[in-house]
Symmetry: C2
Subunit: 294 residues, 2 copies
Amino acid sequence: MTERPDQSPITSPRSERVRTVAALAGRSARRKLSRFRIEGPQAVRSLLRDRPDLALELFVTARAAADHPELADLAGAASVPVHEVEDRILRAMVRESGDGGEAPDGAGALVSPQGVLAVGTLPAPDPSLALTAVRDLPSLQPVMVLVLHEVRDPGNVGTLIRTADAAGADLVVLTRTSADPYGPKAVRASVGSLFHLPVLTGADGSEMLAALADADITAAATSGYAQAELFTADLPERIAWILGNEARGLDRATLDAAPLSVRIPLAGRAESLNVHTAATVCLFESLRRRQAGA
Amino acid sequence: MTERPDQSPITSPRSERVRTVAALAGRSARRKLSRFRIEGPQAVRSLLRDRPDLALELFVTARAAADHPELADLAGAASVPVHEVEDRILRAMVRESGDGGEAPDGAGALVSPQGVLAVGTLPAPDPSLALTAVRDLPSLQPVMVLVLHEVRDPGNVGTLIRTADAAGADLVVLTRTSADPYGPKAVRASVGSLFHLPVLTGADGSEMLAALADADITAAATSGYAQAELFTADLPERIAWILGNEARGLDRATLDAAPLSVRIPLAGRAESLNVHTAATVCLFESLRRRQAGA
């Protein structure tokens, strides 16, 4: 992929440009090329409207261009080139790459791009940027952060970003061992929320805890062994909910380092909640308190 | 599959018995044979402990039998025959069937059975049984029901059952156009909760609404256009949360027929919640109120 998007028409599904876009299903190709791709009118609209600075180029079929004229308008306003391509070209762009690289980390190969695809600049996973984002949060007012530590499933990561957005979170931070939110499956699950609020990747877990404490934001973990129960606990207005790995939960060190730990009540016979359910209950309890206090 | 489980050892992954178990990944084979299958020690333990009446036979590797001795004990207590098989036999049982039938409705083919598999009797999808289950709920005390109407994704159905269990729901009802909770992907996502509380399938939507009203249980829908907001609405102690299709939500007729409709507050810029997130917020708000009132 050249620095300046190539303006020549794409006519072969086996062309280098098509294969380069297809390869972006893989995390290593995204990192190497500093690019990600997204598919479908809703995600592309969110990118162009909310993060035009990240958008590099758009590929649309004639049909989709007619159905979604606002996409060309948004692209024009952001000076993002739009390439009209045949449907078979788009479908080849979301097919598994033939370069022998890693398998795509989502079901991108099975999903129709619905006539629209965009390529964007991948925000670098950078621990210092994540720390800066925490420091730059407004002081002396309610703040809600979601920290994902070792959350490995791309679908979970995308859905968690969507739920954090819905609950009014100000920031989502992923530690470096979490799934990439810019993978096809995570992007799809986030339904545009990836571009609605700052999502920082590559953070270091213990550095993040220190930065939160410096910013007077209380890191809150969930644990089945915690004394305090979520619905009756004293929840700070400046809070960072920290969720851990799907199978193992939070590691002991992080759990010990978090200044607050709460237990989500389980009334039935389920032994646990999955990470997304736990996050939903915590984030919306914070939202409920915020609304009740306002 | 014979009525009485065959006791002869299984030595070929291509045998009829293996292929019959493999075919249970498909909904039509489950219905035709009135059987379902589950995999992994946790699901099998829940089946044997909580619904031994449904269990028909167990297949385990020597390794898994040694690692999980409680499974043979539970099976013995329930008079469920245990067959020791080689790992390659078990793996063939979760492979896509070669009979040209429908594709499995889950990712069963990709997941290891972890050395344990059980076959059980499929509870028949029966609208009248679903109505009876509602009528049989205790009267004059708090009741929480989850109704899934046209929820089509097996993973969502399983996760919703798990979350309903965790929130203390008394019953889950699925209308006939919802995904089958006994499919491999739904069973896995339910993590045993499928056997913790009554899960009734095949219900008719409007009959169900009438039965709920007769039982003095308020059917509550969620809608972005509702006047009442979840966190401040008057929520009855006898409540049935009704969740709709992943893409379309609840159909207009069901929404109009539900006596209560609430809006889940969205604080950020997400346009909507997915069905599982919405159910989680509603079910746990009911649990919170119940605990606060107790």
